[in-house]
Amino acid sequence: MASEENLVRALDLMTIAPKGKMASLSAGARSHVSHMRRVVDTNNVVAVGISEKITQGKRTGTLALTFYVNRKKPLNKLGAHVAVPPAVPEAISGPEAIPTDVVAIGRARLEVDDLPNPLATRNPIQPGYSIGHVDVTAGTLGAMVTRDGKTLILSNSHVLANSGLGKKGDGILYPASLDDGKAPKDLVAKLYDFVQFKVGDDFLNHVDCAVALPIAKRMGDLQSEIKDLFIPRGTIKPARDMEIVKVGRTTGETVGTVKDIHFRFITEYEGVGKVGFLDQVFCTRYSNGGDSGSLVLDRKTKKAVGLHFAGFPDKKGVMGSVFNPIDQVLEALGVTLVTKAIS
């Protein structure tokens, strides 16, 4: 078997070796190297490396010069000038020939920009990822909705409207500021509308929701499919014992079970005061801070059932997550849930 040193030397010759190093090779070797470089430069080859040769799905124990390709193509469809030879000849590799291997891996792509949170991205603009008003740390983009022919971004008021302290037209960051979203480059939308809270110690509120209008140049980046899930198939009313799923900026895809569909509680909104809710949906714990705004879906029907916004995280007390019924959210904002791909 060729030594690792000779394998690396052959790899260098085919990829990064300067012309001066080529000049020291024999005419035959230079011809081989030129051919191999042409192969490496073809559009279908996405990377070259050294790895154990696999034959018919089995490891051979022999190191090979490996050509990683977008797709494997039959030899009869490849021109001879771009076909990967079965081995690197001794003229290049040293005392013994080096076997080659071809592995299909598709095209490499950047996963999540330079962002520290894998549940944050800049493109596409998609439900499940980090979003927030410029003065808010981070929440989750819940869904795409429409009103008067406009496609809008749905999340909580405390995510998009700074709990009602924001003004229509305020900037929306995607990803949110906690996830390194910065103005002006990450301003993707403007606050369009929200439902004001009735503040006080009474159970009076039904929703914590707002919508933002994407800026014109980002309209083409909108997606209605929830990250790692599907496009919601409509809406459904919550029911006790319903199994639900959501994708949030902090905890990603999680599941829970509905426990109570008329839950009442009072919580504190910073800078606003106490806000009491009624007819909320209390579930087993499925969320954490930053998941607010996630669309909650019925696992069975794949229909939207709610908009997540609060929770009881205390491990020594009550553990649970709470969402607004989606029909109340859509009605309060006068919007319709997008249930098809956005073209």
């Binding site: 909580n156 405390h158 110690d201 009474d202 159970f203 914590d208 006790r240 902090t250 426990k259 109570d260 008329h262 839950f263 009442r264 509680f265 009072i266 919580t267 504190e268 909104y269 009491g276 009624l278 209390f282 969320s287 954490n288 801070g289 930053g290 998941d291 607010s292 997540h308 916004f309 609060a310 929770g311 009881f312 995280p313 205390d314 020594k316 007390g317 009550v318 997550s321 709470v322």
Partner: protein, 81 residues
Amino acid sequence: MATEAEAHRAREQHSDYLKDSGAHAIAVDKIQRGGEDTFGVIAFYEKEPPGPLPDSLEIEQDGKSQSVPLVTMITPRATLE
């Protein structure tokens, strides 16, 4: 023993009373009372309620009185997420 609908009704009728006693959240769920499964009202408090609370809530239904079990739990308020 109370049904889920009776527990919902008890919560609706007694929310103000429970809130005024310091409850910050009121749930309905299955509980056990006297060794039997039943639905009940669960009131969440940040600290012990200032005075004694009944162990059941009375509702009027079809001219008859019905008791729905009440339990309390000490737990912090909900937080926005």
